[in-house]
């Protein structure tokens, strides 16, 4: 398997020019518009961007979980271990889901059935992919609840999801995604309900997985989580990639005005109180994305050309790209300058 992966430039996952459309009463729009990124074995890629920019839709596309017929993958390629997932027959894809790629959904209620006890749900997931008797699977599930730091794991195996706190439900999903030790974990806002201490324990758990080359696509809006976990970062804005680079490049030398505004508006624990800093203006509805650069209406650096053309992803440093005509000038300036 690994050999196969290696054969493709060492990439485990390669998403190329992905386009996803939704048809609503108001018309058809692109939720994802020409998104490309790659993940290498063992790498953690952070996908960040404002609410509604297309992060979850990108994630769902990888497992072909876009709800049809309204939603459609209208273009692009998604290669995983060399296979094109968009071309794969449904039965083959089914084997990959859970076994090779697992997903932690943004909202626990999207993944956990309210009707069954969590123990049973974990056991069924294990037995779907592993030849294991019920007792051994039960034992394994209980151990995983303990690993994600749920107190009273034995007792909690009998709980229904509603009897668990929000953060515990999230940890049940994390256990479910990690326990089969897949090659790729797609984690959509996996720790929104977790305090930093438990977050740190979970991150340690993920790093300590037996299979050392597990890759993670980590979707989050929390720049603290990005900083703790990621090797590389891709920033999305209004359906497109605005910027991508290594963790250090994005945090220390952000080149896209959106990334720079994002970093400048992180709330601080101490310091000035009162009104929080927000990037000026509103995220437009997908039906009203402006021509050219989608960010130009809110951008302090916009000029004529931004309305006329979509800026390409300029390479500003090795491995660091930003879709902005001013990227080369901005990359050297501190983000506080916004």
């Amino acid at each position: 398997m690994m050999v196969e992966g290696k054969a493709h430039n060492g990439r485990l996952l390669d998403v190329e020019d992905l386009i996803v459309t939704f048809e609503t009463d108001e018309g058809i729009f692109r939720a994802v518009d020409g998104v490309s990124f790659a993940i290498e074995p063992g790498e953690v890629l952070g996908l960040v961007g404002e609410s509604g920019c297309g992060k979850s839709v990108t994630a769902l596309s990888i497992l072909r979980l876009i709800p049809g017929p309204v939603g459609k993958i209208a273009g692009g390629k998604i290669r995983f271990q060399g296979k094109d997932l968009l071309e794969l027959p449904a039965s083959k894809l089914h084997n990959i889901r859970g076994q090779e790629i697992s997903m932690i959904f943004q909202e626990p209620s999207a993944a956990l059935s309210p009707l069954h006890r969590v123990g049973r749900q974990l056991v069924e997931t294990i037995r779907l992919h592993r030849k294991m008797d019920k007792k051994a699977a039960w034992e394994m599930a209980r151990e995983w609840l303990a690993k994600v730091r749920i107190p009273d794991p034995e007792e909690r195996m009998y709980a229904y999801p509603y009897q668990l706190s929000g953060g515990m439900q999230q940890r049940v999903m994390i256990a479910m995604a990690l326990m089969l030790e897949p090659a790729l974990i797609i984690a959509d806002e996996p720790t929104t309900a977790l305090d930093v201490t438990i977050q740190a324990q979970i991150f340690k758990l993920i790093r300590g997985l037996k299979r050392k080359d597990t890759s993670i696509l980590l979707i989050t809006h929390d720049m603290g989580v990005v900083w703790e976990m990621c090797d590389r970062v891709a920033v999305m804005y209004a359906s497109r990639i605005a910027e991508k680079g290594t963790l250090e490049q994005i945090f220390n030398a952000p080149a896209h005005p959106y990334t720079r505004g994002l970093l400048a508006s992180i709330p601080k624990l101490t310091g000035a109180k009162g009104k929080l800093k927000a990037i000026r203006g509103q995220v437009p509805s997908p039906f009203e994305y402006p021509s050219g650069c989608h960010f130009r209406d809110r951008c302090p650096h916009a000029f004529d050309r931004c309305a006329a053309e979509v800026p390409p992803l300029y390479e500003v440093q090795e491995g660091h790209r930003a879709s902005c005509f001013a990227a080369h000038e901005l990359v050297g300036k501190p983000p506080e300058a916004e």
Partner: protein, 334 residues
């Protein structure tokens, strides 16, 4: 050293909007075919605090410590076993369901899981104006009202005919917020209301909540595990550990000079993007396992993980000690 500041003994302060005393919400643990009760999860265990009109109280603490249960108990979605919760002088714990329904308009909740709390068969227009129809408030253009609410939370006005599943996670969270503020209530329990939002939209929503507080005198119980969010919105904060409040007082005091050993650990662990990583701050994280809320440790509940443990701690449950502006439940502040 300890100083007793008993507000009501000094002057006659305005009576608080919400005055909670010794509130207790336990969940039975049932086993077997006869659903025998074999124990209780002590989710909220003798909690005391108050919220003034126009005030925001932050509520922080680790996952599973009882924050949501406390909020749900106040709104009437869980039933308290004991204690008192006076809302405008009326006790929510003993309220009849009829009186409770009447109060519904004044008290709202923004739920932690936005997906499960939105009816999938209702469109956004119906969701955010449901209460209005129900409470026969000024009809005056339901659509207009819904569109105004959508704009306030930064969503597309034209999307009111869409259904919850057609939105992103953060958009659904904002639909929840729009629903909660639609009736202009007096009090909102905000349960992790901005956890799914990026910093910029987060700032916009928090600013909206602060504006409503100013213009309508709204009060909030603001639950969050993110101290930097709480520090920006809450004047006072309560820190919860395993069903009890271990420290409460002005937010800035708590952040600049935490007193309870648990609060100290909580604040030391806040990530600082661009600076040291968790690995390098590890010694500052809370040690050990979270104890079971069904069988909490004897004496002080935090003693099993406390770096400053003393002889008395496993034996005696500390009361709330008054320390300058704060209440601290720790023997160090006797």
């Amino acid at each position: 050293m300890a100083q007793i500041i008993q507000a009501d003994s000094i002057s006659a302060p305005p009576s608080p909007l919400l005055d909670v005393k010794d509130l207790k919400t336990w969940f039975p643990i049932q086993r077997g075919i006869f659903s025998k009760i074999v124990g209780h999860v002590r989710a909220v265990d003798r909690v005391t605090f108050s919220i003034q009109k126009g005030e925001t109280l932050g509520l922080v603490g680790e996952s599973g410590c009882g924050k949501t249960t406390l909020g749900r108990t106040l709104i009437g979605l869980e039933t308290a076993m004991e204690g008192q919760a006076l809302f405008n002088g009326r006790d929510l714990v003993t309220l009849s369901s009829r009186e409770r329904r009447h109060l519904r308009r004044q008290m709202q909740i923004i739920f932690q899981d936005p997906l499960s709390s939105l009816n999938p068969r209702m469109n956004i227009l119906d969701i955010v104006t449901e209460g209005i129809a129900q409470f026969k408030m000024v009809e005056g253009g339901r659509e207009d009202h819904a569109k105004r609410l959508m704009a306030e939370v930064g969503l597309d006005k034209e999307a009111i005919y869409r259904y919850p599943h057609e939105f992103s996670g953060g958009q659904r969270q904002r639909i929840n917020i729009a629903r909660a503020i639609s009736l202009r209530p007096d009090f909102i329990v905000c349960d992790e209301p901005v956890s799914a939002l990026d910093v910029s939209v987060q700032a916009q929503v928090i600013n909206l909540l602060m504006d409503l507080r100013k213009s309508h005198g709204l009060s909030y119980l603001f639950i969050s595990h993110d101290l930097s969010v709480v520090s920006n919105i809450a004047g006072r904060t309560a820190v919860m550990y395993l069903g009890t409040i271990v420290e409460q007082g002005p937010t800035s005091d708590i952040i600049e000079d935490p007193l309870h050993p648990y609060t100290k650990a909580l604040i030391a662990a806040v990530p600082d993007p661009g600076k040291a990583k968790i690995g390098e701050r590890e010694e500052r994280l809370v040690k050990g396992e979270t104890p079971s809320p069904a069988a909490p440790p004897s004496g002080c509940r935090f003693h099993t993980r406390c770096p400053d443990i003393m002889d008395i701690c496993p034996r005696v449950d500390p009361p709330d000690f008054s320390h300058e502006t704060r209440l601290v439940r720790c023997h160090l502040y006797k």
